[in-house]
C-alpha cells in the first residue's frame, strides 16, 4: 500500500511540476518571436542601393535607433508636419521614440519611388525587419512628409510619388537588425544592412 501511495504522490508531483514547467515555458517564450523563412528566390540588394520590382523602387538609407538625436529630431518634425497640415486625415501624433522596458525602437529610412507610371498599391505593413538570428519583426508606424502621408494613408502611391519614409519597428532590446525585406513583390526584395 505504501508503494501505491508513493506512486500516486509521485504522479501528482510530476503532473504539477509538468504543468508549472509548461506554463513557465510558454510564458518565457514570447509567441511573437517569428522565425523568418527566406524564400527560395529573392532579389538581393545592399544598404544604399536602389532596387525595384517594376512598380516600386526602394533604397534603404539607414536603420537607426530611436535614441539617435538626428533620428529623433526627424521623427518629431515629420509627426508635427502630419499633425499640423490642413485637410490631413492624420490627426494625432504617434508616439515618442522612447521604448517600453526591454524594447528598442528602430527606424528604417527608406526612399520609395513609384516607377510604374500609374497609381501603385503600397502598404508599409509589407516591410519586415529581420534580425541576425533570423527573427522577423513587423512595422509599427510610418511617418513622412505631408504629401507623402496622405498617399501612404490611402495605400495608393501616385505615379510621380517619391519620398523618404521613416518606418518604426519595436523590437527586443538585444535585437541586431541584419536585413530589411519587402514582401509585397514577387520575388521578395531583401536588402542587407551590411
Amino acid at each position: 500500500m505504501n508503494a501505491k501511495r508513493g506512486a500516486i504522490i509521485g504522479i501528482v508531483v510530476v503532473c504539477v511540476v509538468g504543468a508549472l514547467a509548461a506554463v513557465t515555458f510558454v510564458s518565457t517564450s514570447p509567441a511573437s518571436d517569428i522565425v523568418y523563412q527566406e524564400p527560395a528566390s529573392a532579389v538581393h540588394a545592399s544598404l544604399g542601393q536602389t532596387t525595384s520590382d517594376g512598380k516600386i523602387a526602394l533604397r534603404l538609407n539607414e536603420v537607426s535607433d530611436g535614441s539617435n538625436p538626428a533620428t529623433n529630431s526627424t521623427w518629431i518634425s515629420l509627426n508635427r508636419e502630419a499633425h499640423d497640415a490642413p485637410n490631413m486625415p492624420v490627426l494625432l501624433y504617434c508616439c515618442s521614440l522612447n521604448p517600453s522596458p526591454g524594447e528598442a525602437n528602430l527606424v528604417a529610412n527608406i526612399t520609395v519611388t513609384n516607377v510604374h507610371n500609374a497609381t501603385a498599391p503600397f502598404s508599409f505593413g509589407d516591410f519586415v525587419l529581420v534580425s541576425n538570428d533570423g527573427k522577423a519583426y513587423y512595422p509599427n508606424y510610418v511617418v513622412c512628409g505631408s504629401a507623402c502621408t496622405a498617399q501612404v494613408g490611402t495605400k495608393a502611391l501616385n505615379a510621380s510619388f517619391a519620398s523618404n519614409l521613416y518606418v518604426l519597428f519595436s523590437v527586443p532590446e538585444s535585437m541586431h537588425p541584419a536585413k530589411l525585406v519587402w514582401t509585397a513583390s514577387d520575388p521578395n526584395i531583401i536588402i542587407s544592412l551590411t
Binding site: 500516486i8 506554463v23 510564458s27 514570447p30 509567441a31 511573437s32 501624433y93 508616439c95 524594447e103 494613408g153
Partner: protein
C-alpha cells in the same frame, strides 16, 4: 494518506459521511446534462484512507473535496458560460485606449457587439465613435468633481466614462448603449491595449491583409489606422479589429493546454491590474474583474486621471505617488500627497487629475509645479473627499501637484496597539506608478509591524500598507 475513489465504490462501501457527501455532489453533476462532460473528464473525489479514518480526517476530507470541486467546477462553468456553451451570450466589447487615459481605463472610440455561441463568435459588429459627430451624446450625472469643474452634463458616449471606477460606470453604459444603438447586451467586457499586447504575447501573431500584427506592433498599428483612415466610420480600423478579434478568439480556443494555462495566468494578472474589466462580475473566475464597487476603508488614495485632447500620450508619462503621513496621538493624521508626471512626449500633456481621499479630509494647502494649473477644487462624494486639478505638463518636463490635508479618526485600536491602514488604488488602464510611502508615528510610539512602507516601490495593482504601533 490520501487516495482517489470513484463514486460507484463510495456508494457500494459507502459508510462515511464524507463519502456520502462526495457522492451526492457528484450525482448532482451527473444529473446536469450541461455538466456531464466535466464528470466524464475525470471529476472525482478525494477522501481519507478508511484504515486511518477519524472524525477530524473526515472533516478535512470533506473540506478538500469541496475545495477541489470548486477549483475545478466553478471556473469551468464560468468559462463555458462566457463562451456561450450554456446559452448564447451577447457582450458589449469596449476597446479602451489606455494611451489616452480616462477614469475607467481609456478613450472608448471603438466598441463592438459580440455574441458567443458554443465557443464560437456567432456575430461581431464594431462601432467607431467619431468624437466630432453629434450622434451618441449621453447625459452625465456625475461625479460632481467632473461636472462642476467643467460645467457639463453631457458627453459623447465614447468619452462618457468619467465615473471614478468601472463598477460605477458600467451599469450606466449598459443602458446608454441600449438607448443609443437599440442593442441590448448581457454584459460589458472592457479591455485595453496593454491587455491585447499581453494576450498576443501568449497566442502569437495574426496575419491580416495589412501585414502581420504582433504584440510588439498592435498598439501603434491600431493608432495608425485610427489616425490615418479617411472615412468617418474608420472602416479600415474596424475591419482590422474584426479580424483581430475573430483570429484571437480562434487562437485562444485552439490553444494547447500549456498555452491555455499561460493565458489563464495572463488574464488573472490583467484582471488584478485592471486592464481587463467585466460587468457584471461573472462568478468565481472573474470575481475581481471590476464588476463590483470597491470598498474603501481606512486611509486611501485613489488617483483618477482624464487626459484632455493630448493624443496618444500616456504610454510616455511616468507617474509617481509620494505620500507622507504623520499620525497624531488623537488618531487623526496630517498628510502630504504629491502626484508627479514625467512627460517624455514631445508635446505638452494636459490632464484633469482627481484624487480621492477619506471622507472628512480637510485640504490645508496645495501647490503645483506645472506649465499651467487650474484648481484645486474640493468636492465630497459618498464615502470620499475629492481634490481635483487640471495640470499642463510641458513637453520633456516634469510636473506635479501636492495636496496637504488633515484626516480625522484614521487610526484604529487593534488588540495589541494602534493600527493604521492605507490602500493605494491603481487606476484602470494606467500601466504603473512609482510609489513612495512614509508613515510617521506619534511622539513616543514604537512600531510593532509594518507592511509595504518604503520608497521606490512599483505599483501595478492596488497596494495595501499598514503599520501597527503602540
Amino acid at each position: 494518506m490520501l487516495k482517489f475513489i470513484d463514486v460507484a465504490k463510495s456508494r457500494q462501501h459507502g459508510i462515511s459521511a464524507s463519502k456520502h457527501f462526495c457522492a451526492a455532489l457528484v450525482m448532482r453533476i451527473q444529473q446536469s446534462p450541461k455538466l456531464k462532460l466535466l464528470q466524464r473528464e475525470g471529476m472525482s473525489c478525494i477522501t481519507m484512507d478508511n484504515r486511518h479514518s477519524s472524525r477530524t480526517r473526515r472533516y478535512v476530507a470533506v473540506a478538500l473535496i469541496i475545495v477541489i470541486i470548486a477549483l475545478l467546477l466553478i471556473p469551468t462553468i464560468d468559462a463555458l458560460s462566457v463562451a456561450g456553451f450554456l446559452g448564447d451570450k451577447t457582450y458589449l466589447l469596449i476597446l479602451q485606449d489606455n494611451s489616452e487615459i480616462r477614469s475607467t481605463g481609456g478613450l472608448m472610440t471603438v466598441m463592438g457587439v459580440l455574441t458567443t455561441h458554443n465557443g464560437n463568435i456567432a456575430s461581431l459588429e464594431y462601432y467607431y465613435w467619431n468624437l466630432g459627430q453629434q450622434t451618441g451624446i449621453v447625459a452625465i450625472d456625475g461625479p460632481e468633481s467632473f461636472t462642476k469643474f467643467f460645467g457639463v452634463n453631457a458627453a459623447a458616449i465614447s468619452d462618457s466614462n468619467v465615473q471614478y471606477d468601472f463598477a460605477s460606470f458600467a451599469p450606466k453604459m449598459h443602458s446608454d448603449f441600449y438607448n443609443v444603438t437599440g442593442k441590448s447586451v448581457d454584459g460589458i467586457v472592457a479591455i485595453d491595449l496593454t491587455a491585447i499586447e499581453a494576450v498576443m504575447n501568449v497566442t502569437g501573431p495574426i496575419t491580416t491583409s495589412d501585414g502581420v500584427i504582433t504584440s510588439y506592433n498592435v498598439a501603434d498599428r491600431l493608432h495608425y489606422y485610427a489616425g490615418s483612415a479617411e472615412r468617418s466610420d474608420k472602416t479600415s480600423l474596424t475591419s482590422l479589429l474584426s479580424t483581430l478579434t475573430h483570429d484571437l478568439f480562434q487562437q485562444i480556443r485552439d490553444a494547447s493546454v500549456p498555452q491555455k494555462l499561460a493565458l489563464l495566468g495572463t488574464l488573472r494578472t490583467l484582471e488584478a491590474e485592471k486592464h481587463v474589466l467585466l460587468y457584471p462580475s461573472e462568478g468565481f473566475l472573474f470575481r475581481n474583474a471590476g464588476g463590483e464597487p470597491e470598498t474603501r476603508s481606512g486611509d486611501f488614495i485613489s488617483t483618477v486621471d482624464i487626459t484632455l485632447g493630448t493624443a496618444k500620450a500616456d504610454f510616455d508619462i511616468n507617474r509617481a505617488i509620494d505620500y507622507r503621513v504623520e499620525l497624531l496621538a488623537d488618531g487623526s493624521a496630517v498628510a502630504n500627497l504629491t502626484i508627479s508626471y514625467a512627460n517624455r512626449n514631445f508635446w505638452d500633456y494636459d490632464v484633469f487629475s482627481t484624487t480621492l481621499v477619506p471622507p472628512g479630509a480637510e485640504l490645508v494647502a496645495a501647490h503645483n509645479v506645472t506649465h499651467a494649473f487650474k484648481g484645486p477644487q474640493v468636492t465630497s462624494g459618498e464615502g470620499l473627499t475629492a481634490f481635483s486639478s487640471r495640470l499642463i505638463v510641458a513637453a520633456d518636463a516634469n510636473g506635479s501637484v501636492t495636496y496637504s490635508y488633515k484626516i480625522p479618526n484614521i487610526v484604529h485600536d487593534s488588540g495589541i496597539g494602534h493600527r493604521y491602514d492605507l490602500t493605494v488604488v491603481k487606476q484602470a488602464g494606467v500601466v504603473r506608478y512609482g510609489l513612495n510611502v512614509s508613515v510617521h508615528l506619534p511622539p513616543g510610539a514604537k512600531a510593532i509591524s509594518t507592511e509595504n512602507v518604503g520608497s521606490n516601490m512599483v505599483l501595478t495593482e492596488d497596494a495595501h500598507i499598514s503599520v501597527v504601533y503602540r
